[in-house]
């Protein structure tokens, strides 16, 4: 039973992270399309934000791995 609950928890964590990173990716694409010359700067900022969000999601996954 705990295994099932942990799997649900991991899934929920991934939903949040997927939404977050998806939004960042979409916004970055839009930004690059509007201003292609700023692509490298936008990419850097995008990766930082994605890494920070991903960190939060990985906390959830690690917790559900331990549980």
């Amino acid at each position: 039973m705990t295994g099932t609950l942990a799997a649900i928890g991991a899934g929920l964590a991934v939903i949040g992270v997927g939404l977050g990173i998806g939004k960042i990716g979409g916004a970055a694409m839009e930004g690059i399309a509007r201003q292609p010359e700023a692509a490298s700067k936008i990419q850097t900022a995008m990766i930082i934000a994605a890494a920070l969000i991903e960190g939060a999601g990985l906390f959830g996954i690690v917790v559900s791995l331990i549980a």
Binding site: I48, A51, E54, A56, V62
Partner: protein, 375 residues
């Protein structure tokens, strides 16, 4: 070329299946028993006292392991003790006792314990009598062994040392013109310097921190790549290794923080009634930043390894050779993705280290404060 690689990897995975299928068939008499991939996966991603590659079984059903024994170094009550891990004879259940220097040791689930006086079911390990608890009661010696992960770190050190001494001497020989491997390394070094260190730390101080950032970047990248080689050690997927890396970042940030930085932590520029709330948050923030670095690297690399191994175990779960083809394709796809993750995680770790250092050493910072206090 691509077709050749795909063909060879199919053969490789199929032969792997054949080798193991014969072993599983002799072991599990009833076919109804389900294959549990978790122990094998955990064995692959965890640290070990020997470098184990595979098991083979001879006609009489005896198992033979193909593995490299590694030295075990223990600090016991009677002083330092060292011996090779082969003396445990690949035992991981506490059944083989090694006696050294008047002390008896057994190994169970990757840890070394002092052996009990007498055996229970052949194992010299005593478990807690309590219901539901499986805690080991035996005492442990201090373990300073050269484990699989330590050997992995040594390998990475040797590789990095060889590459960069060559690069340095090539610059000297050719008067600053990159040739051969130098031409390949120069863009990477310049990338770390110009795209990670310079924009995040600032023009005045970036030169001081570039060597540290380069070391972190190449160390993590090489270890990530070594971990992806079949049979390689999962070093950056070990939380102790990432903990030390994150501690390096934390110590460097704390040692180089200027007056501005410490003022921001202990007396932040917020209304007075907010201070009791903000000061603890800022102090906790000092530790959550490296903590997030630690978890991010550990979880990313471990998750990648678990995914690859789960896809390989699909073959054994379905007990069918036809599963080898989709499994191989999926493993190939995830492996290529992991090559990207290997460099991306090295980049993210280096970038965030540079950002934290930049926040700590920034001396004109009231105009554009970096909003990175959250994890």
């Amino acid at each position: 070329m691509l077709k050749k690689i795909a063909f060879l990897s199919t053969i490789f995975i199929l032969s792997f299946y054949n080798l193991n299928a014969s072993a599983t068939e002799t072991k599990t008499e009833d076919k109804t028993e389900k294959y549990n991939p978790v122990p094998a996966i955990m064995h692959h991603i965890s640290d070990a006292h020997e470098w184990h590659f595979w098991d083979t079984e001879d006609e009489e059903g005896h198992k033979h392991a193909a593995s490299i024994p590694l030295p075990i170094i223990l600090y016991t009550d009677n002083g330092l003790v060292s011996f090779m891990s082969s003396e445990f004879k690949h035992d991981d259940e506490g059944k083989v006792v090694v006696e050294k220097n008047g002390e008896k040791f057994v190994k169970m689930h990757g840890s070394i314990y002092y052996a009990s006086e007498e055996a229970h079911h052949g194992s010299y390990i005593e478990h807690s009598e309590e219901e539901g608890s499986h805690a080991v009661l035996n005492a442990k010696p201090w373990d300073f062994s050269i484990t699989k992960n330590v050997v992995g770190i040594f390998l990475a050190m040797i590789i990095i040392f060889l590459i960069f001494t060559r690069v340095a001497s090539s610059y000297k020989k050719n008067g600053g013109i990159p040739t051969g491997i130098t031409g390949w390394m120069e863009p990477l070094v310049l990338f770390v310097r110009d795209d990670i260190a310079l924009p995040n730390i600032g023009e005045k101080k970036y030169k001081k921190f570039t060597p540290l950032l380069l070391t972190i970047f190449f160390f993590i990248w090489v270890l990530n790549l070594l971990g992806l080689i079949p049979g390689g050690a999962n070093v950056t997927g070990n939380i102790a290794v990432t903990l030390v890396l994150a501690c390096v970042t934390m110590v460097v940030v704390a040692m180089n923080g200027n007056k501005e930085y410490w003022k921001h932590i202990f007396w932040p520029p917020v209304p007075h009634w907010l201070k009791p709330l903000m000061i603890p948050v800022e102090i906790i923030g000092m530790f959550t930043k490296p903590f997030a670095l630690m978890i991010r690297l550990f979880a990313n690399i471990t998750a990648g390894h678990i995914i690859i191994l789960s896809l390989v175990s699909l073959i054994f779960i379905f007990q069918s050779e036809w599963m080898g083809i989709p499994s191989m394709l999926l493993v190939l796809f995830i492996s290529v993705l992991e090559l990207l993750v290997a460099v991306l995680q090295a980049y993210v770790f280096t970038l965030l280290t540079a950002l934290f250092i930049g926040v700590a050493v920034d001396d004109h910072g009231h105009g554009h404060e970096t909003e990175l206090n959250e994890v």
